[in-house]
């Protein structure tokens, strides 16, 4: 009996969370007539593809998607290297200032872009990178979350493993590359997923940093649909659906691994 109640409650929660999406999917396939029809038309048959056509061929959407995927992948790739190196240094190497830097990074960990828009824009402007891909790629590299995550994973590796390698004369970089990295692969996967998702959804900085049409990322471009085109539920629905396709596919495929690992890894701290 308790089982049934539990399931009912979960079904309710799932429906509340998922229903809007189905509604939107249906709406994306409706034309203006069906959308603004009363009594409401639940599903239009035959489905109307005009919204998608308009989205894919007549707006900047493909470009926005490409930009986002490009930026997200580049940031992810770079951060995996940078953060794992820094995490290794903080976890296993000794040098002056290590404590100070660690505390500094920890303190600024939660500081968001939103509060730093003004000076960040000024810095980007002075570096002449506004309205370039660099403006989208470089600032996110500053976030220290990945460093802490990597540090946590690397701390778990036994010290004798490096000692054994040092005895054989493996260079410090060799130890990092051949011994440490292969053994923290799960951590790298978690980090990659976190960073990619975060970059995919990033809005406020790209909004400020790039204003040229061909540099707009997905979130900014879609926001522009709202600002410029007036009310167009059909187009907006199509945009919503298309935005979510990559993430939905990616996520559903990795679902079990992603959820278990990312939360477990985060909680280890």
């Amino acid at each position: 009996m308790e089982r049934v109640l539990t399931h009912l409650a979960l079904i309710l929660a799932a429906v509340i969370c998922a229903a809007p999406f189905f509604y939107v999917i249906a709406a994306s396939l409706k034309d203006q007539g069906s959308l603004f029809h009363y009594p409401p038309v639940w599903v239009q048959i035959p489905p109307y593809t005009g919204n998608y056509e308009r989205l894919l061929f007549d707006s900047g959407f493909p470009r926005w998607m490409l930009n986002t995927l490009f930026v997200a992948s580049t940031v992810t790739g770079l951060k995996l290297v940078l953060d794992s190196m820094a995490g290794y240094a903080l976890a296993k190497l000794e040098f002056t200032g290590k404590r100070v830097i660690f505390v500094l990074m920890l303190t600024l960990l939660m500081v968001p872009f939103a509060a730093l828009l003004i000076p960040l824009w000024s810095i980007a402007h002075n570096l002449h990178i506004t309205n370039t891909y660099l403006a989208l790629i470089l600032p996110p590299l500053a976030n220290p979350l990945g460093v802490f995550l990597m540090r946590q994973f690397i701390l778990g590796l036994p010290k004798d493993l490096e000692n054994a390698a040092r005895l054989e004369g493996v260079s410090e970089f060799g130890i990092y590359w051949r011994i440490i990295l292969p053994l923290v692969k799960p951590g790298l996967v978690v980090l990659a997923v976190i960073i990619f998702t975060d970059q995919f959804m990033s809005f406020i900085w790209p909004l400020v940093a790039t204003t040229r049409d061909d540099l707009l990322v997905l979130t900014v471009g879609v926001a522009g649909l709202r600002a410029k085109g007036g009310v167009n539920f059909g187009l907006w629905s199509a945009a919503a659906v298309m935005s979510l396709v990559p993430i939905a596919v990616f996520f559903f495929a990795l679902q079990r691994q992603f959820l278990a690992r990312s939360m477990a890894g985060a909680l280890k701290q």
């Binding site: 308790e2 539990t6 509604y23 820094a86 830097i101 939660m110 402007h125 220290p144 979510l244």
Partner: protein
């Protein structure tokens, strides 16, 4: 084996027991010599450590540390980002309460946070308990519940504009179908609440999974012992789960608050800060100071400083809490 062992065969006899040093030709080194030789080794070690840290650290300094420091400087300026500024000391802060909409933005943001976070976390905790009960079979639930968290705020905003459309949105259609009058969801009195509801819808899944991982980590024996002692479900929750999860819940409260204070994209898309200033938030105001009234950059910076300080305080509280708790565990 190989010829390399030819030496070994000649040293097989055990040497004479000699505990003390017989006329050793090795000598001791003075402390200065040690220091000199150690310097090279020390240098190499320092360099290695820094070499690994520096690439990331450079970006950290340029794009995080420097802006944090600079925002304070900017808050003492008056002017615009592009045409130059002049120093005005703390005037911006003094005049802030009288600046258009600044107090409203702050009030809205705080009300929003207070509305959305407790609701989000309580529901999330409940959902997490349910998911824990269901275990493996709940992967579909987990996916569906978590999915809204993956939606960019902008897209969520678009979806909800549609949902809350007075004549054609899902909400009012549902209401009408049970005979209730349609509601103007995004009216001046209710827009902020709807914004909060949007945030709850988006965030519940994330925190539910977070709490789920924590719950899974709890020792099962405690619950079995409690059941044997006759505790029912509510008692187990109240006296076992809550205290055990205290640290996790506090962490969630602080982190959720930090995120809540930064609400912007949904406000921008859903209502563009309106109607009027009903959903004007702090970050929204800051943003308009950059691209809107272009000579008020100092005010924007002042508000940024306020936001920054608030978040830093929250961070410190959280670190203190974590460290304190760890000592108790």
């Amino acid at each position: 084996m190989s010829t390399n062992l030819s030496l070994a065969t000649s040293i097989n006899t055990a040497p004479q027991a000699a505990g003390t040093i017989a006329a050793s030709s090795r000598h001791r080194l003075s402390p200065e010599e040690h220091r000199r030789l150690a310097r090279q080794r020390r240098l190499r070690r320092e360099l290695t450590g820094w070499a690994f840290l520096v690439p990331m650290f450079v970006f950290f300094v340029v794009f995080l540390l420097a802006p944090v420091i600079l925002v304070f400087w900017w808050s003492t300026q008056e002017g615009s980002l592009t045409t130059g500024t002049e120093f005005v000391g703390l005037d911006n802060f003094r005049r802030l309460p009288r600046q258009i909409d600044a107090p409203i933005a702050i009030r809205n943001t705080l009300r929003f946070t207070l509305m959305s976070i407790p609701v989000t976390l309580i529901i999330a905790l409940g959902v997490a308990m349910l998911l824990a009960r269901v275990g493996r079979g709940g992967s579909v639930y987990r996916f569906l519940v978590y999915f809204p968290a993956l939606v960019p705020g902008v897209v969520a905003g678009l979806i909800w504009i549609f949902l809350t459309s007075v004549d054609f949105g899902l909400f009012n259609t549902a209401l009408r179908s049970v005979g209730v009058d349609p509601v103007v969801w995004l009216g001046p009195k209710s827009a902020l609440q709807v914004l909060a509801a949007l945030d709850v819808w988006r965030s519940v899944g994330f925190w539910a999974i977070f709490f789920l991982a924590a719950i899974i980590g709890l020792p099962r024996e405690l619950y079995q012992a409690a059941e044997l002692d006759g505790a029912n479900g509510w008692q187990r929750f109240h006296r076992l789960t809550l205290p055990l999860l205290r640290r996790v819940i506090l962490f969630a409260v602080v982190v959720a608050t930090i995120f809540g204070l930064q609400v912007f994209d949904t406000a921008l898309i859903l209502t563009e800060g309106g109607p009027g200033t009903a959903t004007l938030t702090v970050v929204y105001r800051i943003w308009t100071y950059i691209f809107g009234s272009t000579d008020k950059v100092g005010y924007g910076a002042a508000m940024s400083v306020a936001l920054l300080v608030a978040i830093l305080i929250l961070t410190v509280i959280q670190l203190r809490l974590l460290r304190g708790q760890r000592g108790e565990d």
